[in-house]
Symmetry: C2
Subunit: 635 residues, 2 copies
């Protein structure tokens, strides 16, 4: 279904149209609440101190309080003697005794039998904390629309302000819609999608300070949606309609809103996030969010956040940025402002930004991404190596200490990530991306990663990894560290219903194979084995069907959409598949020489050698360890 009604309104234009439709919450709508319950809330008006702090003249030192004029003329040669009726012993914080106008520090007092001596005169008002030294009654402590931080709350209590007028928190109603959307925990049928957007968007809105309610899932019927939107607008400050992803869906949302109020904009010149709907019912903003999680999130941040900042003055943080060099060429459309998720790796003292897959449906990208690269609408993209500004999704301090792993997939990397996280006082994280062994070599060469898992068979020598490294790197550029031996084999459904006995059977009519992507070591292994058997790729049904990980291949077989795939025993076990061994191979770790001595790499190597890691390998299954951690490519 073509969506010809969708316009491409540039983001700033949309904001200029939409934001002025709404004002700021009137002060009259403020709540009066106890200061002890006001953490994180926003002041509705300026707050003035009711008390002086300090509220009395107090001694600022331990020592004695006296009348300064009694000490005038004192010197080393002519000490002044004071009897006990002329001074009072005081501690810091004590009220200044009546008739005194100075404090002398305990260190400056010379004790004699029945009196004390001072060798210097006191200046009137010395070592006395004046009334209002911190602030005075009537001083403005906070202006309107200030967030009530811990420091602000402490100051208000000290200043006698125990009840504060705060803006109401916005109530936001999320309406998930779509015939294919089902509640989480349902038994999913093909075509059905568990409703997770309300969890994602709702918890983000809560961190912004909103009160969030999610309705039942509304089916794709105009009357049902219209009724849900109307009810939500009657009881909320903001309504968000979460669209499904199938085409034509947002028709209903625009129709529902238009029949009850106004639509100001439908379709933004941003990607992802284009099919957004900006509307209003009564005085309540009603926004249609696209169904893909990444698309919805972009609209939430670019439209909903400024709206909540304006109406409710929420302190939604502006992301810090960092300059990074782009690790590869990036082409962007002139029709859209594009939001590209990137990983950041700190290699050789500078940050590399590695664009991730752009798919707007990839919810796991929120776990993988370190930041956003926003490519303006009038920009065609960037060249590899260009310096770009990245909006940070994780603190830079954490990114700087992250061990960046890009290469061949093996679940043991995830177990290493967990073991690193479980170290006492661990500050080193591990992040891995799966691009195959050759992709790993390239990532190291481009300075995108510190470490790559590789399993590259040299067909001539039958040796793993050492020849490939020698061919692709200069001596001293990288360190190759021995990893694990692992079983590769054919994964087939439990009970092996197709009765496969080895790779030769893949050419049999009706057998559906599922392959790994180009550059993956497992694909190279298949190609090698096929050549040994005298088979051609086009004899294998499914040779062009590609997955990125062992587990994804196993998932296809488990679901019945394929009959066989090459992979490791650990993946077969996770899915309860049968496993027909084909070969044992060595999976090693290739490390940038410049990163080898860093704490992150050294911790990683220590974990490889730990008993805890061996336990994890045993649990995964199919691994054998020989001289793990040994350096293989030294002179």
């Amino acid at each position: 279904m073509e969506q010809t009604y969708l316009k491409n309104t540039p983001l700033q234009e949309a904001l200029n149209i939409y934001l002025p439709v709404f004002g700021t919450q009137p002060t009259a709508a403020a709540e009066q609440i106890p200061v002890t319950q006001a953490a994180g809330r926003i002041t509705a008006e300026a707050l003035y101190a009711r008390l002086n702090v300090p509220h009395y003249l107090s001694c600022a030192m331990d020592g004695i309080a006296l009348l300064a004029s009694d000490t005038f003329g004192a010197s080393d040669l002519e000490p002044v003697a004071l009897t006990c009726d002329q001074y009072t012993v005081v501690d810091t914080g004590d009220p200044l005794p009546d008739g005194c106008d100075a404090v002398v520090m305990v260190e400056e007092i010379i004790h004699r039998d029945d009196h004390i001596q001072l060798l210097a005169p006191a200046t009137p008002w010395q070592h006395i904390r004046q009334i209002g030294e911190d602030f005075s009654a009537g001083d403005m402590l906070l202006p309107s629309y200030s967030p009530l931080t811990p420091g602000a709350l402490g100051t208000l209590v000290a200043g006698g302000v125990l009840t504060v007028p705060v803006l109401r928190q916005p109530t936001v109603t999320l309406i998930p819609t779509g015939d294919e959307i089902v509640a989480p925990g349902s038994d999913l049928q093909p075509g059905q999608i568990a409703e997770f957007n309300s969890t994602l968007f709702g918890s983000l809105l809560k961190t912004w300070g909103a009160l969030v309610e999610t309705t039942a899932i509304i089916p794709d019927r105009l009357d049902a949606l219209r009724q849900a939107v109307q009810a939500a607008a009657a009881r909320s400050d903001l309504v968000l309609v979460l669209a499904g992803s199938s085409a034509g869906r947002d028709d209903y949302t625009t129709q529902a809103i238009t029949s009850l109020g106004d639509v100001f904009c439908h379709g933004l010149a941003i990607r992802p996030g284009k099919p957004a709907i900006l509307g209003r019912i009564g005085s309540v903003p009603v926004i249609g969010l696209p169904g893909y999680p990444v698309s919805g999130l972009v609209v939430l941040e670019e439209i909903v956040a400024p709206l909540l900042r304006q109406i409710f003055r929420l302190e939604i943080p502006v992301r810090p940025t960092v300059s990074a060099h782009l690790s590869r060429r990036l082409i962007s459309s002139l029709k859209y402002q594009e939001y590209i998720r990137v990983r950041l790796s700190r290699v050789n003292g500078r940050y590399a930004a590695i664009p991730l897959e752009r798919g707007a449906g990839l919810v796991s990208s929120f776990l993988k991404a370190d930041g956003w690269l926003v490519v303006p609408q009038d920009c065609e993209g960037y060249e590899s190596g260009d310096t770009v500004e990245i909006q940070l999704l994780r603190p830079l301090s954490a990114i700087a200490q992250t061990l960046s792993v890009i290469g061949s997939h093996d679940p043991l990397l995830d177990e290493c990530m967990d073991l690193l996280a479980r170290e006492p006082a661990s500050t080193i994280e591990l992040k891995s991306s799966h691009v195959g062994s050759f992709g790993g070599l390239l990532a190291l060469r481009r300075g995108e990663a510190h470490l790559a898992g590789i399993h590259l068979l040299d067909e001539a020598s039958g040796e793993y990894n050492v020849p490939a490294v020698a061919k692709n790197f200069q001596p001293g550029e990288v360190v190759l560290v021995e990893g694990v031996y692992r079983q590769q084999g054919l994964m087939v459904a439990a009970g092996n219903p197709a009765r496969l006995s080895g790779l030769a059977d893949l050419a049999r009519l009706g057998i559906r194979y599922v392959n790994r992507q180009k550059g993956a070591g497992t694909r190279l292994l298949l190609d090698y084995q096929l050549r040994q058997l005298g088979l051609e790729p086009n004899q294998i049904n499914g040779y062009t069907r590609e997955e990125l990980t062992h587990t994804a291949v196993a998932a296809q077989i488990k679901s019945g959409s394929a009959d066989a795939g090459l992979g490791i025993l650990a993946a077969a076990r996770i899915f309860g598949l049968d496993f027909i061994p084909v070969a044992e191979e060595r999976y090693d770790f290739l490390i940038l020489a410049s990163a080898f001595e860093t704490p992150a790499v050294q911790r990683f190597l220590a974990i490889l050698r730990s008993p805890a890691f061996r336990d994890r390998l045993d649990r995964l299954g199919g691994y054998r360890i020989d001289q793990i951690g040994r350096v293989l490519n030294h002179a």
Copy 2:
């Protein structure tokens, strides 16, 4: 009372002793909670996906699904024709129909009467989202000790993980102590202090993810404190004893802890924060925090935060830093690591760090400070102009847009701050410090501020501000803008009990005056007037007693600790004082020329000219406006 038992243990040494006493919360202590309630919590173990996402083969485009082999050989010259039994119309997200292995986009289909044509062959598996493309069942989604962000929660729901094991939140008990400490809202007697530290520390601990309870205030008696600490340790994960500020207090805390457990360290080589006590009762850490709010906060951040990070893996953010040049010389003790609060001003494209008063009792410094400058123990300080790293307490984006005002005090600056905050979509803040008119001139010269309020009388000409600016700046360096005319006068207690009629009466015996600090325009006005009257400063009792603001002077008079002070009508009104007019003066705004065209300064000038600002002046009282906003020092 000397505290000879206090040691100066360097911070890192104290952490090395104290942190290893405690471990990380054992996994067995984890709670299992619904993912929808887990926002912000920390995973107790690694979480693996239970479902493949997507869990079925789905169409990635709107178009038709078919068997790719039916299209082989298609070209512009030899289109392939397909009848309706050979394809199925599909939308994005639909399950791939049985018997199909490719999707062709709607744009590539040529519709004929009873069939369709394709001009190119389909590749097997094109435009199909494979099972597990996002992630597969068995893939690790999050390692142990990960914070459950909105993105993580959404991914878990999508992956079928609806219940999550999370670490327990720490329960922290705060015990305020001290005979002089009273509950907020009490009628304060001299020597009494309202208990605000528990609000300050408690709300900070809550933002870190702790559950906080505060006990009643415990008097300075060993048995009472011992009992309170014992009870708290029995029901909490962490006990914090909030000491009062008077000397000898922490004796009780060390004694109480030692009698029930161990004290590992008493006294840290940090300032403020020295009198901290690091102890343990059973397996529970018990920490004595110093009584001054700033001291307590430093110990909270330097000791308690790492402890909670270790035991409960709380994600307590590490502060970002910025490089700034120090605006003045700073001397630091070799005995302590010092924590200096600073304001930051972005002037001429770089950040100036302006050290604030170091007093550890100044709670309002939390509102004034933009960051911390940490001076290591082995550093004697820095020279003016040195580049220093500042730990940020406010987002840099907010600091960069802040109008920095340093100079003479007038409450109208606070009203401007509030009016700026109330502007629609305001992102400009105003921060002001009170250092007097001459201090303002210096601040502009040093690049610490954009704007200074000044009222400097030229005795020769009787003219305000213009001569002082001409004398202190080169042409073009600054812009002087006309401000307000305001009444200066003697503030005296209501009813004028001392029967003062003017400045000449200040020399009368028994009259206690309270003055402003050197460099304040109001002090210069006093000096000028005294000379006119033929009076000497030493004839005025209290000439050396200094306050920094009009309101602080008024507060002294209101409290009865002084009889008279020179100040503006607005300050007298706030405290209900009588006011004896002395002179009308002009309070102008001096602005760095390089900042004059910035949005912050231009918004400020717009506010000066606004009716809302006139309303505020009327409410304050004692102001007259003539040509406000007029530039006074142009050629």
